[in-house]
Point group: C2
Chain length 699, copies 2
């Protein structure tokens, strides 16, 4: 696999190895020596030997090139050691030492120097400021995180070393196994993307999990993760989602889309499963590591008590999963063998006196039912219950019928302890509540649905790119970041959008003339690049039905607005045909610094801010994704038509989103964009972009 110098080295040098037990330089060396089978070279000019092993004064004096070098010396000396690595020809280095970027400007410079040396000499680097790397399968514990865990199939990447230590501590207690654990520290060279790729290629890893505080290269990360998610699930905790990321912006889309939304969209696109806590992450990870994927979300529940069965039912329904409807055959089988008081429908209640034989029979029967995708086995420790024997029965069925996943929830602690150990040994996931069990099944069936999505095909519409290029170039030359309504609409027209008829009037008569030509009713809008929110200053007047009304409104605007906005350069008034039939929606885009253009859809008009009924997705959009954006809002129901009202042309809105997605993908200069309102009529009509606003920036 990639990065094998880190994961499967034949020889390791520990530079900064120490004799003092309280030091990290001792701890790491000791952890390596405890398990590692290859050669180990402590490097420390002040010692002859450590833990009975010969110690070297420097890397050169080892006399051979260690495949992996671990650096534990004080931060200030790290560049010198890096030079030594370069001279000797080392290719893989882990810098444990802290005191770099994370401590401020000086540390940052030091880190830059280290990066430069690495880059120049072709050295790959994990850290600095990290805990190290652990590979149980290769008996490699090059870390100071604790003792080596069991071998397993979860590959873990952590941006917090301390958290990794806590995970190790918890995993060791509950027998969770890992393929690799990597603390990535400051990510001076190797980052989450490199490691997700490496774990994606790694045969020993079935599940990729990680804790991240930020993602360095969002765009590439999404692209790669999307590929890898097809091979194995990626489970990430992304913390640091509070406030800071949200960018202050003038558009609706900007204020509604925080950094958090971008991460949500990116994870959705890439099939990444987001976890909200370590507990949840390992709940999921164990299921993915040890159980087959369910074909769908139809669950059978077996329980020896009513209460937990009801709680499971609540959770299953609450999560949008379904109770499997048993076949006639299953029901008659259950009826025949279970006691008369048992409930033979789902959830199957095999009663408080159920022993292992009844559990085995019920599980064996329902798992055969073609309508069942997954089985949840609940157990409450009652007077006669024998948890260990029941766990063995579950393990037996699981062994015989390995194609459907089984999830256990043995409630309690002391009495069920032995049973839980039996389950762990048999690799059957055990959860602490019906709710978390249902959650795991939900996440697995969502992942299955994601896997079976049709191939993403982004439609390219024929457009007039040159025209857009010209308008944007002109604005950038004039250092106008805001593109006003008229130019914004020209850009949209170039990409196939229809906008209302109309033009600019400089005086009341001209306004009345334009209105006469395009036909009443019309709308007047003040035309000034300084006035962004026109309606806030009385700069929009709708529903004008005759020339007199148009003249009056024109003069009123010219009289009132300069008093409200004395600095605004007012160029005239836009007279437009009023499109009042149809529903108003908003289409928008906000460019995320890390993940690129984030498309938005929602209810239009002033409602959008009050109701926040909006949905987001990363561009470029496929037709399915655009439609899904619509369906993810409550507005959708209204657009489809309620109470006998005629619905609007849903596909036309979806097409609008796709065209917009093409525009912002082809023009990275566009930072923000709003079409609000986008007025949509019944099927077969063409929607109108009634108002629009675009912000650009040099790229």
């Amino acid at each position: 696999m990639a990065l094998s110098g880190f994961f499967n080295p034949k020889s390791i040098a520990v530079v900064g190895a120490s004799r003092q037990k309280s030091k990290v330089g001792y701890e790491i060396l000791k952890n390596i020596l405890d398990d590692f089978q290859g050669k180990v070279f402590p490097v420390n000019p002040q010692a002859d030997s450590i833990e009975g092993i010969k110690c070297f004064a420097d890397l050169k004096s080892i006399g051979e090139v260690p495949e992996l070098v671990i650096i534990v010396v004080p931060a200030g000396i790290v560049p010198e050691i890096m030079h030594q690595c370069s001279q000797v020809g080392v290719k893989s280095v882990i810098i444990i030492t802290a005191g770099f970027k994370e401590v401020g400007e000086k540390g940052k410079e030091l880190e830059e120097e280290v990066k430069r040396i690495a880059k120049r000499s072709g050295i790959r680097l994990i850290g600095p400021n990290c805990l190290g790397v652990i590979v149980p399968g290769n008996k490699l514990n090059a870390s100071f995180g604790g003792k080596i865990p069991l071998e397993g199939s979860i590959g873990y990447i952590s941006q917090s070393g301390a958290l990794l230590a806590a995970i190790l501590d918890a995993a060791n207690a509950s027998g969770i196994g890992f393929s690799k654990l990597i603390s990535i520290g400051n990510k001076a060279d190797i980052n989450e993307l490199d490691l997700v790729e490496a774990l994606g290629d790694d045969e020993d890893t079935r599940v990729i999990a990680g804790y991240l505080e930020n993602i360095t290269d969002g765009n590439n990360f999404v692209r790669e993760a999307e590929q890898i998610s097809h091979q194995k699930p990626i489970l990430l905790i992304k913390s640091g989602n509070s406030e800071a990321g949200a960018k202050a912006a003038s558009s609706h889309t900007g204020s509604l889309a925080g950094g958090e939304v971008a991460y949500e969209s990116a994870f959705a696109r890439a099939g990444i499963i987001r976890c909200n806590s370590i507990k949840q992450q390992f709940d999921y990870a164990q299921a993915f590591a040890d159980q087959p994927l369910p074909a769908g979300g139809k669950i059978a529940v077996i329980t020896n008590a009513g209460g937990p069965g009801i709680m499971a039912a609540d959770a299953i329904e609450g999560l949008g999963l379904t109770f499997a409807k048993f076949s006639e055959e299953t029901i008659s089988k259950l009826q025949e063998k279970l006691p008369p008081a048992a409930n033979i429908y789902n959830p199957v209640d095999i009663l408080g006196d159920a022993l292992s034989d009844r559990y085995e029979f019920a599980l064996d029967t329902v798992i055969d039912d073609g309508n069942v995708d997954a089985v949840m086995v609940l157990l409450t420790p009652q007077a006669m219950t024998q948890p260990a024997a029941i766990a063995q029965a579950v393990a037996k069925v699981a062994g015989e019928k390995p194609d459907k996943p089984i999830f256990c929830c043995f409630l309690g602690a002391e009495k069920v302890g032995e049973g839980i150990k039996v389950l762990q040994k048999a690799n059957i996931p055990q959860y602490d509540s019906p709710e978390s069990t249902a959650n795991v099944i939900k996440v697995m069936s969502d992942y299955v649905r994601w896997l079976s999505r049709p191939k993403r095909i982004v439609k390219l519409f024929p457009v007039n790119r040159r025209k857009v290029e010209n308008i944007i170039e002109r604005h950038l030359r004039q250092k106008h970041r805001q593109i006003g309504e008229t130019d914004s609409k020209e850009i949209l027209q170039a990409y196939g959008f229809k906008t209302p008829e109309g033009s600019i009037a400089r005086n009341p008569d001209q306004a009345a003339n334009i209105a006469q030509q395009i036909g009443f009713p019309v709308v007047l809008k003040i035309w000034s690049s300084e006035i962004v929110h026109k309606s806030d200053v009385g700069g929009v007047k709708i529903g004008l039905n005759n020339s007199q009304e148009v003249r009056d409104s024109f003069d009123l605007m010219m009289y009132r607005i300069p008093r409200k906005c004395p600095d605004a350069d007012i160029l005239g008034v836009l007279v437009e045909k009023m499109h009042s039939t149809g529903k108003e929606v908003i289409l928008g885009m906000n460019r995320d610094a890390s993940f690129g253009p984030l498309m938005m859809f929602g209810m239009g008009g002033i409602m959008v801010e009050a109701l926040k009924d909006v949905s987001f997705y990363l561009a470029p959009l496929t037709a399915d994704e655009a439609r899904e954006m619509l369906m993810n809002t409550k507005t959708y129901k209204m657009l489809k038509g309620i109470r006998g009202e005629e619905g609007v042309d849903i596909d036309a809105i979806a097409e609008g989103l796709q065209r917009l997605s093409q525009l912002v993908t082809e023009f990275p200069q566009i930072q923000e964009l709003d079409i609000n309102p986008y007025v949509v009529g019944p099927e077969g009509t063409i929607p109108i972009a009634v108002d629009a606003r675009i912000t650009v920036e040099k790229t």
Copy 2:
């Protein structure tokens, strides 16, 4: 305390005591004998002695009256034993035996018989179909749920016996203590209300917790629980809230699901803290039992690692809690003593090498800060971390400064195990993640806010009750459950609502005359008690601007509607003034079978169904509660006025809700009621009930 015969008996008889170890009759007797200090009388005509204790043939032959009788005999014999209890003069009985209401019609009859005997003889009854009662402080384990747990201050009521067994098993492992545990089974006599009252009075109980599948007498339960919540918190799991769960519930314990919304409202009114899982419930219960209440939601976080600190920050912000802003003094103190690399602002990062002295200093410092309401102490087990010593330091500060709550989150398992034990002994709650810790603080500070609510004062408006009485009586006499628009509006008028001016016309000229008098524009509405959805049959015509339009519309309705509804008795057409300025909202009420009238507020028109932006609360409403109902919707923002638009008269809507609340409280015959739309204008205007519909029923 009340029900002391169950909780502190001097003598106990076990009727159906058995020698056979696998039987419940043995298990219960054994559990009692293991700990109980009073007299114990096994009753079984087939045995001379059990476990070395003299056995009696029946209750009479004991020769004295046992204070508590536990019945374990088969269901069919239970009535006979109840007769014996009655003859001997027993006052408290627990029926463990199953096979009653929960198994169908025959069992139900048996249960009714038992209830009758109990009632007649003044016997109080727990069960049947229950696990029993446990009182650790009195060394009483009259149950077959497992071994007696530690003494503590949590009183637990469970409608699922098996779940109680699981709770006991888990509690014993983690050292959670209880004042009382009661399995209420079928609730033939004593129900959750009796027990919540008893635990409310109980000096040994600081926290009341429970698992319920239904609430027998919702109205009284809310009233009592509201009183008790002022003394001690009530933490309830209410399951069976999904359709599937309700079905599972009804097939198991013979209970019906209440409306989920009604439960939410009832719990909010009564200050009951709803828990979604057993884990969450005990997370909360431990905090309430062992820690003082925080004065507010301002949290200080102390951590020895960045990652968990960030996760805590996400959780705190996500839950709407706030980071305490430290005083100058706190900051300079922290700065002085903590290492330079530490973060002295909140979250306080005392670094990975922090020992107990640094934890103690930081905790001791921040807890003194007046801006801090609660402290969260995070620990990750890193190389140098000493969890047990740190736990001791935390316990020390907690002991010295007991007025502010401290919550710990030691991450991991093995390495932190000793530390967690130290915390348990010191009664400092320990949680498994920053998220669940933050959740606990959120729930506590919400409870504190609930406690400090102003006294509930329900305003009574002067109304014309007699008029409403007459209208309702007339409809009930005529067996009309639906009260049509005109009568509904008269009822509303009697309660101070304004309705549009207008009256009934029998011919086109009359209609035109009425319109002339009230002024244009007007609305015509077909008037027939058989036509409920008027607009569906073309029976509503809005925006009529002159007499001719009124005449034309009248005739069109008279021509068209009889063809659509040949059976409808058309009495005329209602001519009403049209109120088009203002926003449309909906006010409504739906009477819940258990909790009574449930008020509703939401956005009006057809939007209400698509957006489901509605809020509910139990009547009678105070002014604060009515306003809160408004604020709990997104519509509220729009009503307040957004983007320069003028807002509407919020208080007028709140008053409307209060008046409606008074109406439905004073007339229990009213089952459902809708005012839709209720048109509200700017401040100072009077809202208009444009359309209304009332359903009544004999009570």
